[in-house]
């Protein structure tokens, strides 16, 4: 994607670089900020990271490989990941820095509005699956992934989910919250050492969560790729372990999101809000209706 090698001195081909980076971040000095609200300043990274880890708990990695299988799985993930934005807002405000504040405001406006699209896109599929339990949703895709079963509306929902979840995780082209050319680093400008690493880590965990929700809900989770009545082909596919399927699909979605980031230029804040409120949300609402109609008429596969 990027046509560059990256750090390659630590271990063979640099595979231990991340571990070295982790140690570096752990040992770095935590710079206390004068005139900052130190309680909120220290609390904010923890809220962000706790929200991310709580969402991971509900994700089915393979059959039975599930920390908690709530019967409202989808709603739980939406609810918990909504908490992350509070950490971002607190971080921006308590840093007592204008760049941070503006970054936090942008991030707040962006996450609050794109959450709607994420939720509605997931609801489209929940209508089809008839359940919010993630394990049931995966099980319902045994004979075909929802993106194929639900054809047109499911595909629209998938595209909307990709766009809005990229925005929700503050990744490019929607990374105005930390637009380095305007805001140095946005809401985490003042953070250093491991506290900064928490924000950084939470962003990548969020990307992983979003990708795995996309994989679970639209692409069949850990279910192998099955085509109708091709018995032989299906059996060959069954030999690939479910965990590999799951990881493969998740990395495919992450690849798509990286692709976005390096392809499109960054949006302006008004363009960003216009995209959500004037295009994605109406399309999404109509799409939910279409999906309900199709399910009622039995026009899906």
């Amino acid at each position: 994607m990027q046509n560059r090698l990256g750090p390659n001195r630590v271990g063979p081909f640099g595979i231990f670089q991340t571990i070295a980076d982790l140690f570096k971040l752990l040992f770095k000095e935590l710079i206390p900020i004068k005139d900052a609200d130190s309680f909120l300043f220290n609390l904010a990274p923890f809220i962000v990271i706790i929200a991310s880890f709580m969402a991971i708990a509900a994700i089915p990695f393979a059959k039975g490989l599930h920390a908690i299988d709530l019967n409202i799985g989808v709603l739980y993930v939406i609810a918990v990941s909504a908490m992350g934005v509070i950490g971002v807002l607190l971080a921006g405000w308590s840093s007592n820095n204008k760049y941070s504040l503006i970054g936090a405001m942008r991030s707040g406006a962006q996450i609050v509005s794109y959450e709607l699209s994420v939720g509605l896109a997931l609801i489209t599929i929940v209508i089809m699956a008839g359940s919010m339990q993630l394990s049931v949703i995966v099980e319902a895709q045994r004979d075909g992934w929802f993106i194929f079963k639900g054809h047109i509306p499911a595909f629209i929902a998938f595209v909307i989910f990709l766009i809005s979840s990229t925005a929700e995780t503050n990744r490019g082209p929607f990374d105005l919250a930390e637009a380095e050319s305007e805001l140095t680093a946005g809401y985490h400008t003042e953070y250093s050492g491991i506290k900064f690493a928490f924000f950084f880590l939470a962003e990548y965990i969020n990307m992983f969560i979003v990708a795995s929700i996309a994989a679970t809900v639209f692409l069949g989770g850990w279910m192998p790729f099955h085509v109708g009545h091709w018995g032989g082909f299906n059996q060959v596919m069954d030999f690939i372990p479910p965990f590999i399927w799951y990881i493969g699909k998740t990395f495919f979605v992450i690849f798509l999101m990286m692709w976005f980031k390096w392809t499109f230029p960054r949006l302006r804040i008004d363009q960003l809000l216009t995209l959500e409120w004037k295009y994605l949300l109406p399309i999404n609402l109509v799409n939910v209706l279409i999906m309900a109609f199709i399910v009622l008429m039995g026009w899906h596969f």
Binding site: D37, N71, Y76, G92, V126, M132
Partner: protein, 180 residues
């Protein structure tokens, strides 16, 4: 002591402590944060009761929605160095009285109600059941409150738009923070 008793005491203590902190702190954003902790602990109680739907709704609506809006408006209006002056003793006494009377009233009501213990397993509340009872017109149905709330929300939205539109001709009312 059973583990769920310990969890209950933990959540209850968190709710009490953070509720008191919410009203006694002099920094407005800290108050909002303590309020967030109160709401999250309440949803923890719901999770303990195995009523996951309500817990998730509590998290999305209150923690994810209302607290975010409160924090957002604080971010727009107040500065970090701003502290509230402490309210006078008259106000303190009367608000304490109001709080104590409210607490006594609810405690008396709760003690008055005879809770019948049951050995039945907790009922699984699934999406289908919730959806059906929200839209049912039977004895246990919630269609009337559901519709009343939707009318209320519509009215609130219309009102918000009207208020937002008011300043439209005079363009210089509010500088847009995000575009600076």
């Amino acid at each position: 002591m059973a583990s769920n008793q310990i969890m209950f005491i933990l959540f209850a203590a968190m709710i009490v402590v953070f509720s008191i902190l919410t009203v006694t702190t002099r920094k407005i954003l800290r108050a909002a944060t303590y309020l967030l902790f109160v709401l999250v602990s309440t949803s923890g109680l719901y999770f303990m009761l195995n009523y996951q739907f309500l817990a998730a709704v509590q998290l999305t609506l209150y923690a994810g929605g209302i607290v975010v809006l409160i924090i957002f408006s604080i971010l727009l209006t107040s500065h970090i160095s701003q502290n509230f002056e402490s309210s006078g003793w008259k106000k303190n006494i009367f608000s304490a009285l109001a709080a104590i009377i409210g607490a006594i009233l609810s405690i008396v009501t709760i003690l008055d109600y005879s809770f019948s213990a049951t050995t039945q397993a907790a009922q699984e509340v699934d999406m289908r059941l919730i959806g059906k009872s929200l839209l049912s017109v039977e004895y246990d149905g919630y269609v009337l409150p559901f519709e009343v709330i939707s009318v209320l929300l519509l009215a609130a939205m219309v009102a918000a738009i009207v208020i937002a539109k008011k300043g439209a001709p005079k363009k210089t009312v509010l500088p847009n923070l995000n575009q600076e």
